[in-house]
Symmetry: C2
DNA sequence: CGCTGGCACTCATCTTAGTGGAGTGCTAAA
DNA sequence: TTTAGCACTCCACTAAGATGAGTGCCAGCG
């Protein structure tokens, strides 16, 4: 068992101080009021007088773990305080069984994966009473199953491709010359034979490579097909996106009821790109990732915490989901809950993806 | 020129009272403060003393056109007051030329119609500093151009159809038996020959009729095709939807800065169906439609006004757009602006729809 | 040396009272 | 019908006092 924890460089905290910090954070999370020495003294089974607690608090304050809103208020955890709490003091609570059944039930009803993403987001917000967010599976990481071309008019061709998750995507491209339906069919057959099963990202790279190196070895038909593939899988096609629900839940929290903060937060939500960037970072982390308050480095989120977990399809991380709430949130329940939701969403998506084509 | 207006049953207002009401509303809209008799007396060129104005105000209050927030405050327009103002007193201001150029320029850049809807919504919110909303073109009213089937697996068939606005839609259906690609091609050819050019709604009805009446006269192939069409154009497919932008602009208005109101408003936005119902009503009206405050009958909008206009493609109303803001908005500018935006969006969409296939 | 009790002090919050200003309603007179 | 005048109401702002929670510090105790 850990009895001492170093903070910063050389500072050391003993077990008692940590326990008090833990109680303080827990109490503040449940009450929302600055916690005074009296309250801590009564709550703890340490049998310490308020005066002693005050001494400890002074130490914690020196270390930047807690902070007084004003002279005669109790203490409130700082970001570092929360961080220490989350990293080393937290007693994880198992996901409540009623939440678990709701998750299972919710994720089993939906038909296609886009629906599932929406359902997951709604479950996250509903069961936590905060905002839920789920990124759409990264297209680059998703496997190509099948591609098809459809002639719309002379040079306008509709590209349809089905991915791993049974998602159907389409895009209109403009070809350099006119193709007959038969030619298009041939091209599709060729592309399917060589590219299907690979991730979109891999396909994109392979296309570029093939165009550079193997050009002389290919027939005109093959070349045309690959050129069309290039247009079809062109990079900056559709931006990454996410499904955010329950934003309005955030309006209930007093720490966010300041209109200016709320406004910039909601603006960030509709701007999307900043949030996407943040979620991208979370995806790299693989597993549960937590940003507390200003840790995210994104001003709009200064008074929020973000708890995320990446989710995977066939052992490949394809997206990330999580909840957004005030820094003062019940981490011990939210963390396992987010983790579980990610696992279940991954499993549900996986089931679709391995279903017979 | 109108010199008298009847309100309610028998009450009559003379020109002077109307002019004063007009000034009061205009002043309140620009200032946001209750308007007192002194201010009106000075502003008007009627050379009336404040006392006289007060008598007129008392009349207006009796008629329910204005109202005092408290004993010693000025007057504020009521919903009926606004309504009278908007219906008969308003001096429409032409759309500012800089707004006009922004609209033209914005609506000319986008490629496909879905983009265009988004751009229109953003323009509405940006140029009015309120929230902009645009419904997606009603699918039932949009014409079918082309339909195609693509076999995914044994009984799962991907239906692709292109509509008037160059929009591509797709849907997965489950057929009762397995079809070969050739059979699917035949079915598509058949459906295209008899249904293309009609509105989706018309197609849906025709399909049902054909299945009931002409069944004996059809070959098995034709029958299969029509049955697939029935699945493809099944009613409750994708619900009507809208693009709402600039919601955060609404947070700036003091009349909406009450957290409870704001919350229910934003909940209404994400619930969508209530708003859709409201917008549907607006669509029936053809032309500019205005809901002031509680007029909408939708509690969440109690403190908002909604100014909408339907937009048309090839002389057929297909959707509606508008702005949402506080009841205290500059109607004389917003009304022509919304009207203009609707016309320009319709024109822009029309251009796409008549482009060569 | 760590812990505790006591005391002075600070600060937010709440209540109360007082003041000024804006604007009304009413009435009597032009 | 319009106007001037006056009493009245109510909001918004400020100041002052009371209350209570909680701290910091210090001296004493085990």
């Amino acid at each position: 068992m850990v009895t001492e924890v170093s903070v910063g460089n050389t500072q050391v905290l003993n077990e008692r101080s940590l326990q008090l910090l833990k109680m303080l954070v827990e109490r503040y999370i449940s009450d929302g009021q600055p916690v005074g020495s009296r309250a801590l003294s009564k709550d703890s089974d340490l049998n310490l007088s308020p005066a002693t607690i005050r001494n400890v608090m002074a130490d914690l304050e020196d270390l930047g773990l807690v902070h007084s809103p004003h002279t005669s208020a109790g203490r409130v955890p700082t970001v570092s305080g929360y961080r220490l709490f989350v990293d080393t003091l937290l007693t994880i609570k198992p996901v409540e069984s009623k939440d678990l059944t709701r998750l299972h039930q919710g994720l089993s009803v939906s038909e296609d994966s886009a629906d599932m993403i929406g359902v997951a987001s709604r479950l996250l917000s509903e069961l936590t009473q905060m905002a839920g967010v789920v990124t759409l599976p990264k297209r680059e990481l998703v496997c190509l199953r099948h591609i098809e071309f459809l002639s719309l008019s002379h040079t306008r061709v509709l590209v349809i491709f089905v991915t791993n998750e049974q998602e159907v995507h389409n895009k209109i491209i403009h070809t350099s010359k006119v193709f007959s339906p038969a030619e298009l069919q041939q091209a599709a057959n060729y592309l399917n034979s060589i590219y299907s099963g690979r991730s979109l990202d891999a396909v994109r790279k392979a296309v570029i490579k093939d165009l550079q190196k193997d050009q002389e070895r290919m027939s005109q038909g093959m070349l045309d097909a690959v050129k069309m593939a290039q247009l079809a899988f062109d990079q900056d096609d559709k931006k990454d996106d996410y499904v955010l629900t329950g934003e309005t839940n955030l309006m209930g929290f007093s720490e966010l009821s300041n209109m200016d903060r709320l406004k910039s937060l909601f603006e960030a939500f509709s701007q999307k790109q900043g949030v996407i960037h943040l979620l991208d970072q979370c995806m790299k982390a693989e597993g549960v990732q937590i940003f507390i308050g200003e840790e995210s480095g994104y001003r709009a989120f200064d008074h929020c915490s973000l708890v995320t977990s990446s989710y995977s399809v066939s052992d490949e991380v394809v997206g990330v989901l999580g909840v957004i709430g005030p820094t003062r949130m019940a981490y011990e329940k939210i963390i396992p809950f987010v983790d579980m939701t990610a696992k279940l969403l991954g499993a549900a998506l996986n089931q679709k993806s391995t279903a017979p084509l």
